[in-house]
């Protein structure tokens, strides 16, 4: 009885009992998904070939495909999944709204306007990326500028301003799509749905992801307190306003980087934090890093499905995440108490 009791009590401490087991399982899953992503495709690559392509000095087509196409793409997609999941988890805590996602403040709308405008003008990939990032930042600054206010209204105003700016961007996007020549329409639509086929440079996203995690790690427990309401957080010594705006800015920036790289892929930022919360609880010190792992793994998985399901046609990864995400989310919602 005594032993059973102590085991039970240990299990009640915030998240910790599972933390090690869960993190081992997640790292294993990430490795497996990576192996699958690197070995499957139009050219099948065996495990020994994969090993020598990654760690040896193998030459030839399959080594080239792994090193120059699949690995950068898988790494970029993993980083974006992590960015979106982290940004989503932060937005849900900051807005105290379980239905918040990284795009709720209009970042993806601004990026879409920028990217599609560049495509409409027939500019190259660098310009599209640059315009997407500039659009995301512009939308972010617009929302924060317009929502700037005092007191309890700020939260609601921020949310409403974000929704309205996103709606405005949606209208401009529709306008541009209707004006676009047929030759450019498909790539524009793919961009909108979230498309990783052009993702070749994983490093900026990976670096931003690591920096983002490093920035939130010291304030993770403050976020736990903030999740319980502003007045409780203030009474417990949290500098609520500064923390909130710093983390809003960070989450928007993470989202902007991801949108620039792979377009507005939906559902990862909404669902992954909920999935992790189910397993580990709402302790941000564990939730945030685990969300990064799960988000990266899931998006890499979805992207591999997207490019192999009906190969040689590549689906936009956003379609796959939505097809997986919708039923999972409805299931979670149905079993949620209250």
């Amino acid at each position: 009885m005594g032993v059973a009791m102590s085991v039970r009590e240990q299990a009640l401490m915030p998240g910790r009992p599972n933390a090690i087991r869960v993190s081992i399982a997640l790292v294993l899953a990430a490795v497996l998904v990576f192996v699958w992503a690197l070995t499957t495709g139009s050219i099948a690559v065996g495990l020994p070939e994969l090993w020598s392509a990654l760690f040896g000095d193998a030459e030839g087509i399959s080594a080239g495909v792994v090193r120059e196409l699949r690995l950068p793409r898988a790494a970029a997609v993993f980083a974006c999944g992590g960015l979106l999941a982290l940004a989503g988890a932060l937005m849900q805590v900051l807005l105290r709204n379980p239905l918040a996602d990284p795009y709720i403040l209009g970042v993806s709308g601004g990026a879409a306007v920028g990217a599609l405008a560049a495509m409409l003008l027939g500019l190259g990939a660098w310009w599209v990326d640059g315009a997407a990032f500039a659009g995301a930042l512009a939308a972010m600054l617009l929302v924060f500028g317009l929502a700037h206010g005092e007191g309890a209204w700020t939260q609601t105003r921020l949310l409403l301003t974000g929704v309205i700016v996103a709606a405005g961007c949606g209208a401009i996007v529709t306008l541009m799509l209707s004006l676009a020549p047929d030759s450019r329409l498909q790539s524009m639509l793919f961009w909108l749905m979230g498309d990783a086929s052009g993702a070749r440079r994983p490093w900026p996203a990976l670096i931003v992801l690591v920096l983002g995690l490093a920035c939130v790690a010291p304030v993770a427990r403050d976020l736990n307190v903030l999740a319980r309401g502003d007045s409780a957080a203030r009474a417990l010594g949290v500098d609520v306003d500064r923390l909130r705006y710093a983390v809003y800015g960070l989450a928007s920036l993470l989202t902007a980087v991801s949108v620039t790289l792979i377009g507005s892929v939906g559902f990862v930022g909404l669902i992954v934090p909920h999935l992790v919360r189910f397993v580990i609880g709402n302790d941000q010190r564990l939730l945030l890093p685990f969300a990064v792992l799960v988000g990266g793994t899931l998006l890499t998985l979805a992207d591999t499905v997207a490019r192999t399901l009906i190969a040689p046609t590549q689906l936009p990864v956003g379609v796959v995440t939505a097809l997986i995400g919708v039923p999972v989310f409805l299931f979670l919602l149905a079993r949620k108490p209250g």
Partner: protein, 260 residues
């Protein structure tokens, strides 16, 4: 912990509050020492919660000065202040699942360093606090499944583990049944004997007269009456403040107030 001294934990000098253009209370002065209980009484919207938040250092007074533990609000470091005074807020909308134990451990936040994690010692403090509020065995329950009164007691337990010297309580008896109303107020009275002081917003005049050493009575029109409990809790003052005739009844050595 600071040594107990006769220095007041809370000292208001000609304090006045404003909400927008409206004066919530005119200037009053007050000293609250360890072991004492101050009750804020008055009609809805009179400014009781605003005054409590001002006492907590979360809001600046419109005029006058306020010292907590001898120091002005601006002289306090946030974390040190959170160890000195605790606030039981009136509403705590819980949106995310969390175990009762986790919810109570949140109160340890100001006692842990930036990278600190709650340890065995913190857990024991939380379990003791849960026992104090009659929630032993509830550690693993999800707070979203609790009743209003149980959530109120979880919040009180979180305040106990915060272990502040000055307890600021916004309607601590909210949602509680009669048994727990008395149990919780007795619990706070025991806390006062340990060198703490309490300020509480109450709506029940009889509970106020039973536990208060000092009372601040708001009349909802910007006037307040601040003083010793027996000076303020009078038929005429109460009737004026609540805009309803209130009678005083002596019964078995107890004073009761009834609306006429």
């Amino acid at each position: 912990m600071e040594a107990l001294s006769a220095e007041p934990l809370l000292e208001a000098e000609r304090l006045a509050l404003k909400a927008g253009d409206r004066w919530l209370c005119c200037e009053f002065s007050l000293r609250l020492k360890a072991g004492e209980c101050l009750v804020l009484l008055g009609p809805n919207g009179a400014g009781k919660t605003t005054l409590l938040n001002t006492f907590a250092g979360l809001r600046l007074p419109a005029a006058g000065s306020l010292r907590l533990g001898g120091r002005l609000g601006s002289e306090w470091d946030r974390t040190a202040l959170a160890r000195f005074r605790g606030l039981l807020a009136q509403s705590r909308p819980e949106l995310f699942s969390s175990s009762v134990l986790e919810s109570v451990l949140v109160g340890r936040h100001p006692h842990l360093g930036r990278w600190g994690w709650e340890g065995e010692n913190d857990k024991q403090i939380a379990l003791d606090a849960l026992r104090e509020v009659g929630l032993s065995g509830f550690e693993a329950r999800d707070v979203l499944t609790l009743s209003g009164g149980e959530r109120q007691r979880v919040a009180i337990a979180a305040l106990l583990v915060q272990a502040p010297r000055l307890l600021l309580l916004d309607e601590p008896t909210n949602h509680l049944d009669l048994h727990y109303q008395i149990a919780v107020l007795e619990l706070f009275r025991r806390q006062l004997a340990d060198g703490r002081a309490a300020v509480m917003v109450l709506h029940d005049i009889n509970l106020a007269s039973r536990y208060a050493d000092h009372v601040i009575l708001f009349d909802g029109r910007g006037n307040v009456l601040a003083g010793a409990s027996e000076e303020v809790l009078r038929e005429d003052c109460l009737s004026h403040a609540f805009a309803h005739p209130i009678v005083r009844i002596e019964q078995g050595g107890r004073t009761l107030f009834m609306p006429r």
